[in-house]
Every structure is written in structure tokens, then in C-alpha cells.
Amino acid sequence: MNLDELKGAWAAYDDQLKSTGDIDDQVIAGMIRKRSISTVATIKKSYLYGIYFCCFYVLAFALLNIGDPFDYTRDFDQIPLNAMLGALILILVILLIARHAMKKLEVPGQSLLTYLENVIKQYRQTQKLLLWLVCTIMFSASVLFPLSFLSRKIAKSGLWWGLIDTFSLLIVIVIANVITHLLAKRKGVGERSWWSFKVIIKELEELKTMAAELKNG
């Protein structure tokens, strides 16, 4: 039996499908009112959560700067907080641009290869953004924020005790993060969410393999 004979079977299958009843109009109308569960929709939603997150913290840091609850006496004490604020604003802008760029993917009407390449580009961007976001938050919370208290602690306890006291917070944060990460890994938390690098890397590899298969003769 060869492929041309199978074409006959396929044609018969096609005829059988044509003989099935129409789908109820209300059922189709219901489908177009549902939310998408596509990758594109999931990435867009993640970007939106990131935007909300950044907005909240930008507002919080702006209020901290205005209110000065830590009673900073010197201007340079506020540099770390300002740096954190600056980084958050930058991330917010990048997220807004990235979300806008998703419009290209909203309508999958291009050829398969073009669409695949656009989605791969978006995955790579998401991966970089996520890395940038995680590093910024970790660096800000572990280094910049404690640094804002450094001069006061040095003035109070001397250089070395001032440094130890300031960075003891960093050590506590690092330990807490490691424990949280290990516990989350054990319970499989976030393995299927967009906040997991594993998911993004795996999907990216699959898409790249398909794009390579298409391009190679």
C-alpha cells in the first residue's frame, strides 16, 4: 500500500467529516467570547502582573523618598533607594514596550515559519526580562537597601561592625531566598508558570527545533 492509496482513505475521511452536522451557532458564539489560553495570552498576562508589581513598588519608593521615614541626614544616603526607584521605572517602561510588541503575535495569520520566529523572539525577550527583573530585585533588596543604612551604622559602630551589621541583613535575605527556592522546588511550585526559567527554556528549545526543521532542506 502506498501513499496514493492512503490519499483515498483521507478523501473518504473528508467525506465523512462533511456529512457530520453543523455546529450550533450558539456554541461557536460562546467560543469566541472565551479567553485565550495561548502562549501569547499567558505572556501578556505575565507582563501585566509585572506592570502592576512595578507600579506598586514605584509608588512605594516614591513615597519613601518624599516621606523619608528613615530620617536620612545626608543626601548620598538616599542614593541606593533612588537607584532602586530608577531600576523599577526602567523595568516598567520595558514591560510596557514588550507588552505593546506582543500585538504582532496576537493575530497568527502569517506563515508558520514567520510566526514561529516571532514567537521565538518573544520568548527570548521574556527570558531576558525575567532575568533582569529577578537580578534587579535581588540586588536591590540584598545590597542597595542595606547600603542606605551603612553610613549611619559606621558612624555608630565603626567601619567593620558597621559593615557586618549592614550586610547581616543581606545574609539573612540570601538564606531566606535559598530556603524558599528549595522548598518551592520540592513542592514543584512554579514549574509550569511563566516565572519558571525551566518552562521558558524548554518551550524555546522546542520552538527553535521546529524552526530549524523548517529551514533545513
Binding site: D14, K34, P108, Y115, M210
Partner: protein
């Protein structure tokens, strides 16, 4: 516009059935994929300007959705699966009794990669190499090469399945 769209879906529902049957084995995933394809077609509908045939356009959207952006593992708690009473996707299995070759064809196609399934689907639908090239986004020459390779692969699988059946 909604009425025209619904008529179009019913007229070409076979395209979506075939894509769903090729890319999903489980019933619930097939329904999810069907819904997702219909939703993506609806989003793309306003920008469809008849530059190509409707069926060609629908194949493009359906295959892009099935291959690139439909995630089987995604949990969609807000999506209530359509009940069997409302709608059911005719499976290839339901036609196996009429055509024993259908079983062989189904088994053989399941051994192909996602890309190969897309190309063979269009070939079996008697799309020209030019149309396949337009939908997939590769050159006509590349289409020819790939189809030949897929044919060889399928024939090997079919021959070995037949040998096992004896």
C-alpha cells in the same frame, strides 16, 4: 460580522477537525484546541482581506495555533470545557470501521513531527506546492523535498505495521 464568521466556521469545520485530530490525542485537549483555533480565527477575521482563499487562511491560523501557541499543559480554570451534548469532534477512530486503511494512516501520521504533520495534512488536502509554501513559509523546492521524505517515512511505517498485522 459574527454571523458571517459562524457560517464560515461551519462551512470549513472540517479543516479545524482535522488539525485537532492530528495534533491532540486526548478528547479534552482536542476541544480546548478547537476553541482556541476558533478564537484565533475570530481575532484574525477583521484583518482578513481575501488576499488568499479562505481555506488557505484558515489553515495558516489553525496550524500556527496548534503548533506554536497552544500549550496543552496550560490550566484554564476559567474555561469550562464544552460538554459532549453541545459539541463533539468526530475522531478518526470513529471512521476506522469503514476504512481499515484509516487506522494505518492514523498510526503512521502519529509518528511524524509537528512540522511533518502540517505538511502532510496540506498534501493530503491536495493543496499545491505553491499553497503549501505560502502557508508554511518555506520555498516550493523545500516543500517538495520534505514531502518526499515524509512519504518515505510513512511508507516505511505502513509496511512495518502491515508486517506486524500478519
Amino acid at each position: 460580522m459574527e454571523k458571517v464568521f459562524i457560517e464560515m466556521i461551519n462551512e470549513h469545520r472540517g479543516i479545524i477537525y482535522k488539525v485537532c485530530n492530528l495534533y491532540c490525542l486526548e478528547k479534552e485537549y482536542k476541544k480546548d484546541l478547537f476553541q482556541e483555533i476558533v478564537l484565533q480565527l475570530w481575532k484574525a477575521f477583521p484583518s482578513f482581506r481575501n488576499e488568499s482563499q479562505r481555506s488557505t487562511w484558515m489553515y495558516r491560523v489553525a496550524l500556527n495555533t496548534a503548533i506554536t501557541i497552544f500549550r496543552k499543559e496550560s490550566k484554564a480554570p476559567e474555561r469550562r470545557s464544552i460538554s459532549d451534548a453541545e459539541f463533539e469532534i468526530p475522531d478518526m477512530d470513529s471512521f476506522e470501521d469503514q476504512h481499515e486503511q484509516m487506522g494505518l494512516l492514523k498510526q503512521a501520521i502519529n509518528t511524524l513531527t509537528q512540522i511533518e504533520k502540517a505538511i502532510i495534512l496540506l498534501y493530503l488536502e491536495e493543496k499545491s506546492y505553491e499553497e503549501i509554501s505560502e502557508i508554511i513559509g518555506i520555498t516550493k523546492t523545500n516543500v517538495g523535498v520534505k514531502i518526499n521524505r515524509i512519504k518515505i517515512k510513512l511508507e516505511k511505517v505502513i509496511k512495518s505495521d502491515r508486517y506486524e498485522l500478519r
